[in-house]
Symmetry: C2
Subunit: 292 residues, 2 copies
């Protein structure tokens, strides 16, 4: 049985980081300070703590400063809102993200609308979502952008291909489908109400699985030779599992591993969004000077 090509997120992410390093060095030459990322964190679980550590580590390697507003899982909505407003208004902060999950009594969408869209490095503000939807320049959700970059890094062009996205979250499924369509794939979005999921997934030349269900996709659901991107990550007693069963490697033409596939791309694209946001703000500050 031949094995699928490994869609190596670590090497693709390293390439993104290398490009960012050059852009940041250019900033220093122009006398600009390093970008600053602000994070609002209002939960206590260990998985979230690990995500924050990963973001801090990756930022530190690029010389990017991270300021965390730690509020705890009991923080009232007004306190979360105030933290987001404060970072958004701070001229010395270039990017703002709200780490999910928020406390149960706080509505994520309400909070996200308080982020300055120009600093919205997760691409969650409806103004960025709408710009993306209408094909305008926008800050794009990191995992979706990372999946496209992972494909590009491995020379896979979605144009003209049948693509299937399993999952329709605002975080991953919907923006990934939109990006694949904008790269000229013919895209189908599947979800919990899809009848005969296997019939649909077997049509995919590119299959992105972001369903949040361990081993949802078995080898019998995959078209031979397909490119399969596994966005799932589930901590179980048996170790880290994806949404895609490992046996899919015997059918697919290419497969992203868990871990080491989409995960590193998400952090890389977050930092790319941060540098983009910082440079756009610097450019607008220059424009404003000129306009005087």
């Amino acid at each position: 049985m031949t094995r699928a090509l490994l869609l190596d997120g670590r090497s693709a992410a390293a390439q993104v980081h290398e490009r960012l390093r050059r852009r940041l060095a250019e900033r220093v030459r122009r006398g600009l300070r390093p970008p600053v990322l602000g994070i609002v964190w209002a939960s206590e679980d260990e998985a979230t703590a690990a995500y924050i550590r990963a973001k801090r580590r990756a930022a530190a390697r690029l010389g990017v400063e991270v300021r965390v507003r730690r509020l705890g899982s009991q923080a009232p909505a007004a306190e979360v809102a105030a933290a987001v407003r404060g970072l958004s208004a701070d001229r010395n902060v270039d990017g703002v993200l709200v780490q999910s999950p928020l406390p149960r009594h706080v509505d994520f969408e309400d909070i996200v609308q308080l982020i300055d869209p120009a600093k919205d490095v997760d691409g969650f503000h409806p103004l960025n979502a709408g710009r993306l939807f209408r094909g305008r320049p926008a800050l794009v959700p990191c995992t979706a952008a990372g999946i496209l970059e992972l494909l590009r890094h491995h020379g896979i062009d979605p144009a003209g291909r049948r693509a299937v996205v399993v999952g329709r979250s605002n975080l991953v499924g919907r923006p990934t489908a939109l990006l694949l369509e904008q790269h000229h794939a013919t895209v189908t979005v599947c979800h919990s109400r899809t009848r005969d999921l296997a019939e649909v997934t077997r049509q995919a030349e590119i299959l992105v699985v972001a369903a949040g269900r361990p081993w949802l996709i078995g080898p019998e659901m995959v078209r031979p030779g397909a490119v399969v991107v596994d966005v799932g990550i589930h901590r179980t007693e048996a170790g880290l599992l994806g949404d895609v069963h490992p046996d899919v490697a015997g059918v697919a033409g290419a497969l992203s591993p868990v871990p080491g596939g989409v995960g590193p791309m998400t952090v890389a694209m977050l930092l790319q969004n941060l540098v983009d946001a910082a440079e756009r703000r610097a450019a607008e500050a220059v424009d404003a000077t000129w306009a005087r």
Copy 2:
């Protein structure tokens, strides 16, 4: 050969108008003025003039006032922008739309961003697009909303069905696909880069065609019994043609006619958006009073 059920846009639109009439009567009882729609019109062609007349007629039947800012096809971008800003800022205007086409030298997306999102009755502002994309309350593009209402009127529930949308415009294709997905269909978007279009369209239980190409879809491209919605409208020497060939009526289970299908729905949903926008503004004015 049995003939497809006619998806009658005129009767569905009449029902929408009747609901609006009741809501507007309720406004009068509460002592509120009728809603006012502002239109910025900067073109000279007869087709656009006909659209404007249709909107005026439908509005007049409901007692809705329409104010048209007619600028002509040579208007500079600044003049178009000023007209949009003026209507957006006018407290006595509840809805604002920019009639396409604009002059060639004016970017439609740039202008649309100047509309107050709360008055954006075409649902084209990126903030409304983003709210729709993220599943939040939004003003929804009229043709997309009209297609869903046309299906609902005829008792067709998209949930769990395979739906295919041909065309990916911001105006129709993309928002229609999103609405169908939010109504739990499994949706595929096709476009000019789709390979073997017929293979995809034959999978559709609900097929929406908004490709802008006369008679693109022939009977051999339609699954027997499918629901087919034809968004195309082309004025030719042979009369008005849709994107769907008339012979599809012999294969489909249901088919929207051209004219008399989607067209009347678009105008009805525009007026519904206007009444929604007016009521939301009135409610917010009350909230603001209370907050004092």
